[in-house]
Amino acid sequence: MSVKMGLLALLADGPQYGYQLRAEFEGRTGSTWPLNVGQVYTTLARLERDHLVEPAGSEEGRVLYRITDAGQDEVAAWFLTPVIRTQPARDELAIKLAFAVTVSGVDVGAVIQRQRTATMAALQDYTRLKRQDHDLAWTLVLDAMVFQTEAEIRWLDHCEARLRRAATERRVVATPAEDTADKETSR
């Protein structure tokens, strides 16, 4: 999502000052998405240019911002529009594994296992955070990270299972007489 829609969604609840918006934004995303003040004000300026927000008075030089009707429509549409997955976060990992299976001399089983251990440790960290009490918004953000991290582990398990099957088939074809003592997933 964009910072723009986040701020607009916050303003849909009532007029706020820029510094308040920044604190609210970080609070609701559990500080997983830190904003700097400059980002908040340039975004508000753009929103005002597009007639999605308007000034509603000022105090000590600070401007109070209010959402317009067009802004309300924009927020409503945003909530109802599915997010398109453009760049899957695990791209680097997928590419790494694709290379690992094609470059000779790489122990793919070891690559997967090491990654799995690291990702599991990250998942344990997120889960430890879940043990503390949080408000609902932060819990949902945390759950998103938990499910995404879990998906990566499941995918790694899937990769390993595929490699094992491929290795077994290769062995059956190449050396039908030999037994299956060697169960390594290396290539």
Partner: protein
Amino acid sequence: MTTILKLDAVSRVHGEGATEVTALNAVTFTASAGELVAVMGPSGSGKSTLLTLAGGLDSPSSGTVLVEGADLATLGNQGRARLRRTAIGYVFQDFNLIPALTAAENVSLPLELDGVGVAKARAAALVALGQVGIPDLADRFPDEMSGGQQQRVAIARAVVGDRRLILADEPTGALDTETGEDILRLLRLRCDEGAAGVLVTHEPRHAAWADRVVFLRDGVVVDESGGTSVDALLDADRV
């Protein structure tokens, strides 16, 4: 930390000759008081085997299994049965509820067998059923409950009373994500209160509630996570 469960170079071989299967191969494994350990691995890797050996439901082909310092092999059938009634809570992969008993009776049975009075045992059972989120199903029979509800009765039975070792084989298989998480919170709570827990699961999300995650493959421990700093691991691996 006090070691509650210790498997020392434990192997379990099924069958012989051509049909011989080594379900577990020289595995050394511990779980201490206050610790929850998750066991993961592909189907057939030996997870349930490890758990049944730890619970004294099966005997190793070689190696020793110690629960609270006692060698299960020298305890005899009666000693093992007593340990299972009092110290060990076991959640079976297929629930294993007694069909002729209500939910509350299933849960209170181990306490009653151990000499706890009926009223007291029932009170404890009701508390445990409340903790797994089905306080109002106490007087239903297993065949009057959904799979997930039966699973929760099985979990309540395993955590009721003073269990020092809780062994759970896929305890969340029949549960939705939210209920599954409640169960993990409950297991975690029991371990934080001092029990040792071993959780077999296919769900990484649930394994992540554990202090350590042990990974089995072909009856061998191939990996363990936990304890190591994530950032260090991620940096080393991703770059």
